[in-house]
């Protein structure tokens, strides 16, 4: 009897030790919980939606592209670095062809190999309507970011040729948006679609839906659990090909929380460790409670984009310069609790595309008044301008108080500013239609913030004669042959330094001609628990979670 008792006691001790150890191990799992501003989990099938927040949380952590943005530095511009492609070069004889050498030994999360076939497959998913895996839902957010890419061709297992419609030196930059999903995993999902579904397009759609729920990329994190609209859990990919980016965290939990006050409460109550875009008036409280608020200059421009249509009050360059000299940006920065950077142009001084413009954007009321007087305006004869703005919106920061502040600022320089306030998605839609469309409602400027990560997004689409509505976002019809030539020169200069020098010339001229009133640059504020370590907030829309850890 004693022996039985002893055996049972040892067994109980062993079991309880095991259970306690297991619980301890689980309790020590390093989990980072993030509250996003998005109202839903960004799409997980490789081409995220929800704008660049999607790329930030379900693009870069789960997938790789052929080229990456360098997110390792906070004190320099984020530049292009090799990703799944170790090198690339344009064909000297035919500049519409690029050869990319691929990194060897890379595996997708499902264990299949990354190779040239995978690159071709991923290009076809958005460009080849006849491909079995072509997905209409992904083409919108992808092809417009690489507008000249036309096809891909395998040369050998680790070499692929990409073809563009015209010589385009921006292609490597654009390819940061094309994430590589696993063809083998997708094909497995396709096989699992019931045979009763016979329509190929419907089979592909269901396969993509299944892929999104159980995704496979090659990124530092892989999908572990997905609750639609509520929660995405990623776990570390310990076999990641880049040792510098092999995660120190075990798990990342992403939760959509579109309401700023809810996010702030979730952080303060300890429900999450990191929130995007805290409510501005809560920043002081967040800091006072021991959390850290990270900000950095971000390529996110908040301007008025001016109309150059006939009859526009902005046709006189003196007026455009006066407006740029009459905005009290430091006062606006105070209003926003420091949550903005003061712009000198689309990119800041020191950026490879800066170019040293001769027009210095600053706050100089006297100079602004003189320019307005020279243009024929005065206190008694102000210039009436009308700006179409939104009440809110992704990336729009605090549009109503900011615009009202600028309105008051410009009043001292003989501007009589009126606003046409509309809903954000409508403003976005109107942006495509242009200043001459009835949807502009008489406005001669529009307030749509934009990303300035790559040359097309930052400059070309606003200043090229080929990008006037409905083609792209040259809303104001700023058309000038000199700029077309500068854009052409940048597009056809294929060495990086030469291309950056050409883009710098373009930027300098843009600042000098001032088709914008540059008002603010966003600083991408995010608040985190002090337990989160290894945080580097680069000068980018993106941030790398892989090097982070949690205490």
């Amino acid at each position: 009897m004693f022996n039985t008792f002893a055996k049972k006691s040892w067994l109980a001790l062993g079991v309880s030790t095991f259970v306690f150890g297991l619980a301890s191990a689980q309790a020590q799992e390093k989990v980072l919980r993030i509250a996003m501003t998005a109202a839903d989990i960004p799409r997980t099938l490789g081409q995220p939606d929800q704008g660049f927040e999607g790329n930030r949380f379900t693009g870069i952590p789960m997938y790789d592209a052929l080229t990456h943005w360098d997110l390792s530095k906070a004190d320099a511009a984020s530049v292009l670095i090799p990703g799944l492609a170790s090198s690339w070069a344009v064909d000297a004889k035919d500049k519409t062809k690029w050869v990319f050498k691929l990194r060897s030994g890379v595996k997708f999360h499902d264990g299949s190999s990354f190779n040239a076939d995978a690159v071709v497959w991923n290009v076809q998913k958005v460009l080849d309507k006849s491909a079995a895996h072509f997905d209409p839902s992904q083409i919108g957010v992808t092809t417009s970011r690489m507008p000249t890419l036309r096809s891909a061709r395998k040369i050998d297992d680790l070499t692929v040729e990409l073809t563009t419609s015209e010589p385009d030196s921006f292609l490597p930059l654009n390819l940061t948006n094309l994430f590589m999903a696993s063809p083998a995993h997708w094909n497995a999902k396709l096989k699992a679609v019931p045979a009763s579904v016979t329509d190929p397009a419907e089979r592909a759609k269901q396969a993509w839906a299944a892929f999104a729920a159980d995704a496979s990329g090659s990124g530092p994190f892989k999908m572990a659990r997905f609750v639609p609209r509520e929660r995405l859990e990623l776990v570390a990919n310990k076999a990641y090909w880049d040792p510098a980016r092999t995660p120190k965290l075990d798990r990342v939990v992403l939760v959509p929380m579109p309401e700023a006050n809810a996010r702030t409460a979730a952080l303060l109550s300890g429900q999450v460790d990191w929130i995007e875009a805290p409510a501005p008036d809560a920043v002081a409280q967040i800091k006072q409670r021991g959390f850290t608020v990270y900000t950095n200059a971000q390529p996110h421009v908040w301007p008025w984009q001016l109309s150059f249509a006939e009859g526009s009050p902005w046709l006189d360059k003196r007026v455009r310069h006066a407006a740029n000299l009459c905005v009290d940006r430091e006062g606006l920065q105070k209003l926003l609790g420091g949550m903005m950077a003061i712009p000198k142009g689309t990119v800041p001084p020191g950026h490879p595309w800066w170019g040293n413009p001769k027009f210095d954007i600053k706050y100089d009321v006297a100079a602004a008044r003189k320019l307005m007087a020279d243009a024929g305006f005065s206190q008694g004869k102000p210039l009436k301008v009308k700006i179409q703005i939104s009440a809110s919106g992704s990336g729009q920061m605090q549009p109503l108080p900011m615009n009202e502040f600028v309105q008051q600022s410009l009043k001292q320089c003989y501007f009589d500013v009126d606003f046409d306030v509309i809903e954000w998605n409508t403003l976005f839609t109107n942006w495509r239609k242009g200043a001459k469309d009835p949807s502009a409602n008489g406005a001669n400027a529009t307030n749509v913030s934009f990303a300035a990560m790559d040359p097309f997004f930052a400059m070309v689409r606003f200043t090229s004669s080929k990008t006037v509505p409905p083609t792209s976002n040259n809303w104001g019809y700023f058309v000038n042959k000199e700029f077309d030539d500068l854009i052409g020169a940048a597009r056809t200069t294929f060495d990086d330094k030469g291309r950056d020098a050409a883009l710098a010339k373009l930027h300098a001229r843009i600042v000098e001609e001032a088709p914008f009133v540059w008002i603010a640059h966003d600083v991408g504020p995010r608040a985190m628990s002090a337990k989160v370590k290894g945080v580097v907030q680069p000068r980018s829309w993106f941030i790398d979670i892989a090097p982070m850890s949690i205490q």
Binding site: D40, P228, F428
Partner: protein
């Protein structure tokens, strides 16, 4: 009774058709591009046209409506443009979460509202009546989303007693009725209950006061019936109206409060609608509105039937 029920059910069919037509029309009349969630602002005209054709938005409105309603009758509400997931599954998941929240909120609101209403009506014009009435007026007057934020500040941010958001530590998919999950329900349910509480209390107060003034109550007192038994008679007479109000409030809450569910990130129909509106996800938007409207129609039908069962005079009229 059977004929009454049959008549009411048959009347529901044209109502449902009308509701679906109005849903479709309202959603398509609103400005904005339905493809904004899959099209960036710099999409070329050719790309916009291509996607419009792929998603069927190039067809005429009658064609789109007939195609949609034909599938909806078979239970297929289409596919969300933003997520590519079936709308029916998305809506049903959200409805179950809102149903849970709405039932708890209605329960709290009905209990408290009935308590305040009966107490106020029974002790009318006394200090008890004034306190109960004041509480119910506050309930209908205070903006509930503001109240929600205040409750979050107090109980989550400052006291850290309750979580601020979400439907459970791991999301709603693994919901169980344990404390770890139920504490996510407390604040949103309390917030949602204040309006029904106020409305039910004020309705019942007036009703109880009116019933107590009726001759049959005088007669019952004259017979020597005790207060408790008289109270039960008052409850029975007030019940049809109380149930009708409660049913309407449940229907209103089943619509999901966009504001409350957004404040608490509760994954119900309000949160879904919020998402669908901002993403201009038309299939999701019209599917969600249709399901909610149909719930309301069915709920009204049930309330009418229960009322007529409780009060035969309604059938005869």
């Amino acid at each position: 009774m059977f004929q009454y029920i049959l008549r009411r059910v048959l009347l529901t069919l044209p109502i449902m058709l009308g509701v679906s037509l109005v849903c479709f029309a309202l959603v398509h009349l609103a400005p904005g591009d339905p493809l904004v969630s899959v099209l960036p602002p710099d999409a070329s005209a050719a790309l916009q046209e291509q996607l419009r054709q792929l998603y069927g938005f190039d067809r005429s409105y009658p064609e789109q409506f007939l195609s949609w309603i034909g599938r909806a009758i078979q239970g297929d509400l289409g596919t969300s443009i933003a997520t590519n997931r079936p709308v029916t599954a998305e809506v049903m998941r959200a409805v179950s979460n809102t149903f849970m929240l709405a039932c708890v909120a209605t329960g709290i609101g009905f209990l408290l509202g009935s308590l305040f209403g009966f107490v106020a009506g029974y002790f009318r014009n006394s200090w008890i009546d004034r306190v109960a009435t004041a509480l119910s007026v506050v309930g209908v007057s205070v903006p509930h989303y503001w109240l929600g934020m205040v409750l979050v500040i107090i109980f989550s941010s400052i006291l850290m007693w309750l979580p601020a958001t979400g439907a459970g530590p791991g999301g709603s998919s693994d919901w169980t009725w344990d404390w770890e999950h139920m504490k996510h329900l407390i604040l949103p349910a309390l917030t949602m209950s204040v309006i029904p509480m106020g409305i039910i209390a004020r309705t019942l107060r007036a009703l109880v006061a009116e019933i107590l003034a009726q001759e049959f109550v005088v007669g019952l007192r004259a017979k020597g019936m005790r207060d408790l038994h008289i109270f039960l008679h008052v409850v029975k007479n007030a019940a049809p109206t109380a149930l009708a109000v409660m049913g309407l409030q449940l229907g209103y809450l089943l619509g999901g409060s966009i504001l409350i569910e957004t404040v608490f990130s509760w994954p119900g129909t309000g949160f879904l609608l919020n998402s669908a509106i901002f993403q201009r996800d038309l299939p999701l938007l019209q599917g969600t509105i249709l399901v909610l409207a149909l719930f309301f129609v069915v709920l009204n039908l049930l309330v009418d039937i229960i009322q007529s069962a409780l009060d035969p005079r309604i059938q005869r009229s």
